[in-house]
Amino acid sequence: MVRIIASMISAVLLSVLCLSKTEAKARYTAPLNYNSILFRQDTDDTSKKKLDTIILADRRSQVKGIMDSLNARLSALNPHVSVQQMLKGKIAGLYVQETSGEPGSEQSMIIRGLSAPVFSKNDIYRLQPMVYLNGIPMIQENAYVFDIQKYDYNRIGPATNLLSSIDISNINSIEVIKDPAALAKLGPNAANGAIWITTKAAKSGYRDLSVNTYFGMVQASNIQTVNAQYENIFRKPFYQKYASQSDYLNYVGYLRDSTNLDYYGPAKWSDLYAKNHAIYSADLGLTGGSEKANFRFFGSATQNAGNSDDTKLNRYAASFQINMAPFSWVTVSSMVNASRLDRDRNRNLRDRFAETRYIPDLYNPISPSKTAYQSLLNEYDKAIDDNRTTMVQGYLSLKFDLKPVNFISTFNFDYNEGVRDVFYPTTLMAGNNYVSNYFGYNQRFMINNAVNYTKHFNRDHQIYFEAGQSIQDDLHKYGYANAYNGPNDFIKINVVEGDKKKDKYLIPVGYLVYRYNDKIHNRLFSVYGSAKYSYKDLFTFSALVRDDGSSSSQPGSRWFIAPAFSASWSLKNQFLKANNWVDKLNMDASWSRIGKLFSDDRFAAGPQYRSNSGWALEPTIPGYNGIATISRPYSSGWVGYDIKSPYTDQLNVGFDGSFFKNRLGASVTYYIKDDKRMLLNSPISAETGFASQFSTGLAVRNTGIDLGIQGHILTGRDFGWTSGLGFNFNKNTLKSLPNGLNELIIGDRKLKVGEAIDRFWIYENQGIYNADAEVPINPATNQRLTFEGTTLKAGDPRWKDINGDFTINSDDKVLKGNSMPKLTGSWSNEFRYGNFKLNVDIIYAVGQKALNQSAALQYDFINREAANDINSVREVFSWQVNADVSKYPTYNPWSSVVPYRLEQDLFLENASYAKLRTVSLGYDLSKTALFKNKTAIKRAYLYVTGNNLLTVTSFSGSDPELIEYNGLYTGYGLSIPKTYTLGIKVDL
């Protein structure tokens, strides 16, 4: 804590020192305004309420798209814990990937399509939009931890979704900002889009008390378990058809003995694995005070749970706001939020081995028997797996209203720290125990200053200027130690010598310890100026220019100047003033260029030297002969000079209007999003020694349409029906590759200019060769078709020889399918009958495909079991009916062409889905006779909600949402549970 305070003070001092000049100079500049940083109001309209002392809430809204804002009132009826869950499917153009139902695990959001290809998990971090909480850009995790990881399934540390810290009951509105000019005002932070969350605000008046609570349960999913007999029968045809005598001799041990009850007995593991769990939440909000000084307090406690593997998330959150107006021209506003997240994680073996980087012998997998699984769980009781994330964020804001000039200064801070303590006893780790401790934090300080000036010339013309400047300081840091093979299972911590006088002071006693530290420090300095001109109520035009300097860019190209323009034209007022059925009709156009930031500091340095002692499977060898090594970054990739900032050019053209006395609202936006000059870690000739080089010049275009229609279809006194339909159609295209290349192969992906970047690169499977004679013969050489030189035989797949050269190799792979959906959206309905309300939400995503790795591994059992690597791990949940056996041909699993290789369209499946996500029925008690006379109660709303009730899909895996970022279905995502809650909301 001392460190936090110290660094806060130093940051303040630093910025003040740096600012003193700024302010002095700013006095002579054209006064502009920062405070109209775009703020879009929720449909739950608070803008009609009296404006109060709060600074942040007086940003006026200008909602453009109908589907750009989340209805917070309806969302609060769901037990969602993360921002991603709240927004999933609800906003046209925002695609949420919830790849696991494990509560509090990391989730991804993509606004308007992928702007860069995703090869590994850390690529997805770079594509995330910025989330603003009352104007604070919330700092997220940095992908740098993957540098020391062998496997990227989970990041080290608690790996908790930092956006699951905000309680929906404290949220007034969530806007997804997609307008290019609005994003330009937010700057490089918002280059991937922005999500603007506004909490409920402090306001004056007699004290307001609101209490919300719900209680409910997640339902265990119905698992069709199997035992070894099923596996035995599954393998039988392969052995009958292809096995040699020695293959029979090598038949896996755990399937050999059919009298072994562990494997061949009843498979009741699911009783312990999949369970119903309780979830609950209670919160309290208190608002009150005078016009001169008012406050808001909010506190909540929430428990969320998954339905598998005893996963759980506990959250405690508190928020406090104070606004003061000591003089009529000065307003002071402040907020402090604190939250704590405790997470019970899954107990997958894979995730455990990946964390420990140690794979024991996997010859005998975990058995499907309940007793065997129970004894494993008993060992887990001796383990420690604590994951705690603590967060504090807040702001202090000053506003001076010196009409017609306003000056606003804001200090934001955001700090979060994650702690993970792990101990696995010897019984879980093949006779070897394991301890790891992680402490990492991310902190951001930011100072914004802005002035604005409004000038009316006459009734028709108005000009508004603003200028602003901000400094942002980001620090990511962690310390991590893992330790193996301690003396016994009673000492669960890494003990070090505590005697200062001894030579071995602080040297570990007992365990074999490895330690890692890393730190990334970035700063961003921005200035901008903008002007807006409006003519009557017909036309507005605004322009902005900004200059951003980032410490993570190379010194020569540190500053990036970018303009933005937008225009809005009221067609209604221009042409249709007399028209009765058009209430509003606007046309907007907006264009901006925004520089993008590097999250890694390596690019600023240019050619560099790094520690590089290990290799892919052993990334963390400390040195050679005990001496640190520093070399060119051969394995991570060459970084040269002339790396310029990537940027994004975005164009929007949209119409929105409302018709028939506002009973029908519609908005349509066409966009082009060009992400240019991006870096790609691309191949370089191996003779340089480098595995790859970072070259600039990757460009990706996303085009699409966001559409929203909302209609009040029935508006009777007793019965009403409102329906909203939103969707986004998006298409991405690779526009260029570095060095003018036309195509590039990176790992098992191929990028081709003109094609989409999320395509799978796979062989086309056309069946099976039943006999050697069926394999085609090359008339030129009289040799049979080969797979990369190995002659195909009976039992091998009939892969399509695209180029007809009688050799199947990567030249015969084709780009097929997309991992991202083409169409996403939702259909929401609200029915009202008397005091009852019924909400029904359906979300859908169409056009995406997935490679079923789970099935590929099941069929490739020969290679999988022999490899004894991370893919060989067999989890307890693999003892269930998985793949559709009839779908796949019976190939020779011993064949050296690896017939069940993943990269073929045999495993490519359509992962489109539609889900009945929410059904909620509520009853407004306050309107009943019971409460009618009790004026103290303003509102009392009782409701029941069911979530994730129904999925319509043709996907063969358990759930088409549980697909990894790269389009692979691994079977590892925990099921997204059906939940049922009963809740009440009371406002006093």
């Binding site: 006779g431 074999l512 730190k519 052993e618 070399s631 000739s685 340089t688 290679n863 004894n868």
Partner: protein, 513 residues
Amino acid sequence: MRSIFKINIRFNKGLLILLVAISGLHFSCKKMLDIESSRLSNEDTHWSSLQDTRSGLMASYSLMRSAMAENNAHWLWGELRNGDFTASSRSDLKVIINQNLKASFPLVQKLTSWRAFYAVINSASLFIERAAEVRATDIRYTEPNFRADLAQARALRAFAYFYMVRIWGDVPLITASHDGTFEDKPKTDQSKVLAYAETELITAAKDLPYVYGAEGDEILPGSYYGYGVDRWRGALFTKISAYAVLAHIAAWQSHYIDVSVYTDFIMTNYAKANIAYSTTSQLTASDGIFNGQSYSQVISFGFNDVYGESTANGHIEQLVLASPLISKQTPDLYVSKDSIASVFTDLNDQRFGLDTISGLPRTNYFVNFTGEIPVFSKIKVLRGGSTNGNFAIYSSNILFTRLEELVLLRAEALAVLGQRQDAITLLNTIKKNRGVKTINDGTGKDLISEIFAERRRELMGEGWRWYDLIRYHKIQNNNPAFMNLIQQKGIYWPIAKEVLNANSKLEQNNYWR
């Protein structure tokens, strides 16, 4: 309209002031954006002090270690093709043993990439080009130290080329770092590559000491980078190491006269480097020559547990150890009982034979001989030489060569050159050390076969078998199938597709096309 015009003028003034203000801000906050990264060292600061040469040189060694260790490549290249090991169930190992190297297993793809060796070459070249900068700026960087460093970098680079030639034959010869201005190069004939390596090694050998960190050493007196002799034992290239590589380069090209010259130097001078023969127990103990540091490790790349360098991957143990030594049930690779019986013919052989008193098989090289699958346990350095098999991480060094290997190489050269008696003396030295009956010369005695049979026994699991087979068949010239493989260049490995894709001037090796 007029009012708007006026405003424009005023606005322009404002804009001017704004621009001035912005440029002022840039100036005042420019420093703020200079953040020194703690994760890397950049060109401005690197190559200025002793630490930079030390860490740079060690990096070249560690890159060489990675090139050999990644995917356990040293053994997969050296031991499997046509070798003594059998794969229990892994198909990717089976195809290598059967020399079906076109097979498309990920492992085979990785083994056919030479990228890691060029990382050694690039880093050594860069060191050779830049170390002089440190010599100019840091007075602690003495001339002998500088020269010894350059010599090591040269020797490592030459060693990397030799290693690559054994695997791929012709490889592109690149002798400068081309730092940042890379261009694609075609393959160079292997004789040119080896000639270059030979010249480099001869140059390097002059400046290489016998021992690092020794007080009063002729070539490199005093501590080396602040450490004494104990720290550097077996870790770095010595003069003997350079001659060992020279001898092997000559042997690979069948220049046996050169081999005898180079090995003669080794035999005369090995004592100066404190090198000694290893006893059978030193050879096979878990804390023997494969663990930690020893002068007798003539060329060795260490994974010293003392320094936290033990790993799970990168050791032959990962492939061959199993129960009862570790908890793994079946080893990935094993030497079948039939092979063991045919290789170890002398019952008194300490490495493997039958104990004359108890009648039980000796367990130095193999344990679980009575079981279905014997476990090759010659090298079994569990974490720092312990015997705790619960935690299967290993500290064994990649021991490229040791005195016994060089003695047998010399014996081979002498035998080829017709100096049979000297060859037999050397061979018998090794045999005696292992408790095996010595041999005498006689008419019709196939001395070459005797020497290679001894190499097979002595060096089993040290990554020599495949190259020994090549030399053996070249000398004997009596196996048409193998000679055909040599002539067709099938003894080399194919080049990985990604390597070919990235450099248009390369072509796949003919045999594997």
